[in-house]
């Protein structure tokens, strides 16, 4: 029955030491130097956009459109300067969605504008009647039509943002200090632009973004390869430059879900949860030792190993920690006590039946193993279903709970069976704590 316990004990202690080192802030390797915190703890914005595939070009496949949207949003988000953004697409019966997480963003309205706009830029000419007078619509506004010209291959093409080089930038006009976006055409765009500026010399040329007029400067000269867009605020100019460089989206997006969490709320929640966790764990330890005495103390030591091990695994994978995730972990700590209680209760019984301490330990573990295993199966079932649920609609809170509870429960089985037993065996082997009273058994 008694296998080599000492090597196992040394292994557990070494593992514990490594885990403790690893979970301390700043320790680790690569990008595993700190715990990954979810949006609810860091603050930021979680956005879900619906991709309107009904508006796509029929020649494109759904998958291409979705991939294109994702790629362009990634470019926009990166250009905006968000650390550790998440962009992922979800397709389910409700349609196709793109989920964007922007940790630490304070001006969320601005970010929403930047990401969700189709950002289709085009250049339009005034519609004129036979006598050359501008045509006005019912509301008295100038009517415009998209300017077209012959491309390099002789085909008639519309002049849109798709012929821009991805190097648009915001510059300030030297005289007025007003922001403008400077852009350059690729060779196709330059061919079109040259013909169009020539045709519209001394006439206004409308610059439209998503069918909204931004400005209508008068063409002063024939221009070939570059130009500027004026009439923007600095913020809008920055946004537009990023959008032009990342390309316009092929289909419109609409926000269907938005969750903002203020940075102070996040930090506050983290602090509160940690306090709650520490107080809860302290109560568990006091209770276990008061009730089960020596085996309770052993179980608590095992629990401490368990906590270190679990946190190390969270950091290693890495698991994104959220508030429900922390709750899930704490519940697994509470339930981790379960196995130890089962074992300790058995141990007491075996001692009462008059077995020796060593035999009682072995018997206690043997008897309680099937209960520990059976008991956790239902928790695993619940976690797997919840993980699926959280994944289908991108709910990182549900996902966080399911992940930490699952990992926590799995590792707690390991500690209950391996760590607690090794500790108890080591103690018995060393001839300490021989009295049954130390295990909570009253002298009869």
């Amino acid at each position: 029955m008694k296998r080599a316990n000492t090597p196992l004990l040394i292994f557990i202690l070494a593992l514990f030491a490594v885990c403790v080192w690893f979970i301390l802030p700043g320790n680790g390797f690569g990008d595993r130097k700190d715990f990954k915190l979810g949006l609810d703890l860091k603050g930021g914005s979680h956005l879900v956009y619906r991709i309107d595939l009904s508006k796509k070009d029929p020649s494109q496949s759904d998958a291409d459109v979705i991939a294109g949207v994702k790629q362009k949003i990634e470019r926009r988000v990166n250009a905006y300067g968000v650390t550790e953004p998440i962009v992922q697409t979800i397709t389910n019966e409700g349609g196709s969605f793109v989920l964007v997480q922007l940790p630490g963003v304070t001006d969320i309205d601005e970010a929403i504008n930047l990401i969700g706009q189709t950002a289709e830029l085009d250049f339009r000419e005034q519609v004129v009647d036979a006598s050359g007078k501008p045509v006005l619509d019912a509301e008295g506004n100038q009517e415009w039509k998209i300017a077209t010209a012959k491309g390099t291959d002789g085909q008639e093409r519309e002049l849109t943002g798709k012929y821009l080089k991805p190097n648009a930038q915001v510059v300030l006009t030297p005289q007025t200090n007003e922001p403008e976006v400077a852009f350059e055409w690729n060779s196709e765009g330059a061919t079109l632009f040259e013909q169009i500026t020539q045709r519209n010399l001394n006439k206004p040329l409308g610059i439209f973004l998503d069918n909204k007029l931004i400005s209508a400067p008068t063409v002063q000269a024939v221009i070939k390869d570059k130009g500027v867009i004026t009439g923007l605020t600095l913020e809008n100019a920055k946004t537009l430059a990023i959008q032009l460089n990342s390309g316009s989206l092929d289909v419109p997006l609409t926000i269907v879900e938005r969750r903002d969490i203020g940075a102070t709320l996040g930090a506050d929640s983290l602090k509160k949860s940690l306090e709650a966790g520490i107080i809860g764990a302290a109560m568990v330890i006091i209770f276990m030792i008061a009730y089960y005495r020596f085996s309770g103390l052993m179980a608590c030591l095992a629990l401490i190993v368990y906590v270190a091990l679990t946190l190390a695994v969270f950091k290693l994978i890495p698991v994104v920690l959220t508030l429900p995730g922390i709750a899930g972990f704490l519940v697994s700590v509470g339930m981790g006590v379960d196995g130890n209680v089962l074992v300790a209760e058995r141990l007491k019984e075996e001692l009462r039946r008059g077995r020796t301490l060593g035999a009682a330990i072995e018997e206690g573990f043997k008897q309680s193993w099937s209960a520990i295993l059976d008991a956790n199966v239902t928790v695993f079932i619940a976690c797997i279903v919840l993980y699926w649920l959280g994944n289908t609609f991108g709910n990182f809170l549900v996902l966080g709970f399911a992940t930490t509870l699952f990992i926590g429960t799995l590792l707690s089985m390991f500690t209950q069976v391996v760590v607690t037993r090794t500790f108890l065996r080591a103690v018995v082997g060393a001839g300490m704590a021989k009295s049954p009273a130390a295990y909570g058994v009253a002298k009869q």
Partner: protein, 302 residues
């Protein structure tokens, strides 16, 4: 030895006292769906100076949001539930409140869900519950294959499980109209976790009863069942208490985000301990012998 089986009718009565009003509440008021399921916008506002509930309500009415539900969210913050709002609308509301209340307003959290996502969430939640129910039933039939009458024992376990879920849902229904507590995706998460923990407790107790039957403690099933339940008492109470310590600490100190999750766990796990000790085994006895309690002498003979 405590006679937990003999007092079974009292336990059934206690459960009925909670469950019957709860079911009435469920039938009349249902559950109060949160933004997750019903779509809409929920905002927690933080004000730099003290703002009275009435003031905020008045201001929201002035802005045309007379349907808004306003609740204090602690530390001078307010939780406001509105119909679905666009980005421009939320920004405008914030600025208008700023002018109207003459203080700096911060949106400390905002959650907005459109009907299309809400409908998807409802659908997926139903699928998740059905899948979980089937998986748990399969597990129960597997775990109880060793039991003497698998169908009977399994059914009693399921009744006890449903009992726990009904208590949680009923209390949330009552809290819904009494205190404005809403159910969201995290509530469902809590309920499914309760299922996991609850079945676990019942399995441990039934396992004990089965073991004692094998040992042939008594011919009377009532005595055997009571013996098994009382033997599990220490384990069930201690495990439950340890878990509850942590959950109560989280509930009291953990902040707003996880309130529905932690509350569902708190009610569910507490009920689970009760039903595994006071309901599940007793149901087995009822099935075996009917509702009448046995004569008292049998207890002293153990």
């Amino acid at each position: 030895m405590i006679d937990l089986v003999g007092k079974r009718n009292w336990f059934f009565l206690i459960s009925a006292i909670v469950i019957i009003p709860g079911i009435i509440s469920l039938a009349v008021f249902g559950l109060k769906p949160g933004v997750d399921f019903s779509s809409g916008t929920a905002i927690t506002f933080h004000f730099d100076k003290t703002v009275e509930l009435g003031q905020l309500r008045q201001e929201l009415t002035n802005e045309g949001y007379d349907q808004a539900v306003v609740q204090p969210a602690g530390e001078g913050d307010f939780f406001v539930r509105l119909p679905e709002m666009s980005t421009d609308q939320t920004t405008k509301l914030k600025n208008d409140l700023q002018t109207g209340l003459d203080t700096t307003v911060t949106i400390s959290s905002l959650y907005t869900v459109s009907p299309i996502v809400a409908a998807g969430t409802v659908r997926n939640t139903i699928i998740a519950i059905v899948v979980a129910a089937v998986a748990i039933l399969l597990y129960i039939s597997w775990a109880f294959r060793k039991m003497p009458k698998p169908f009977r024992w399994g059914t009693c376990a399921i009744i006890a499980l449903v009992h726990d879920l009904v208590v949680v849902i009923a209390i949330f229904s009552i809290l819904g109209w009494a205190a404005g507590v809403e159910v969201d995706a995290l509530f469902v998460t809590g309920v499914l976790a309760v299922v996991g923990v609850s079945v676990n407790n019942i399995v441990v107790v039934f396992d004990r009863i089965r073991e004692n039957m094998k040992r042939g403690i008594s011919r009377d099933f009532e005595v055997v069942a009571n013996y098994g339940i009382v033997e599990s008492l220490g384990r069930s109470l201690n495990t439950g208490l340890a878990t509850l310590f942590v959950i109560v600490a989280l509930y009291l100190l953990g902040g707003q985000t996880t309130h529905t999750l932690v509350l569902a766990l708190l009610i569910g796990i507490a009920t689970g301990i009760y039903s595994s000790l006071c309901i599940a085994g007793q149901l087995l006895v009822v099935w075996e012998k009917g509702l009448a309690p046995r004569k008292k002498e049998a207890v002293s003979s153990i």
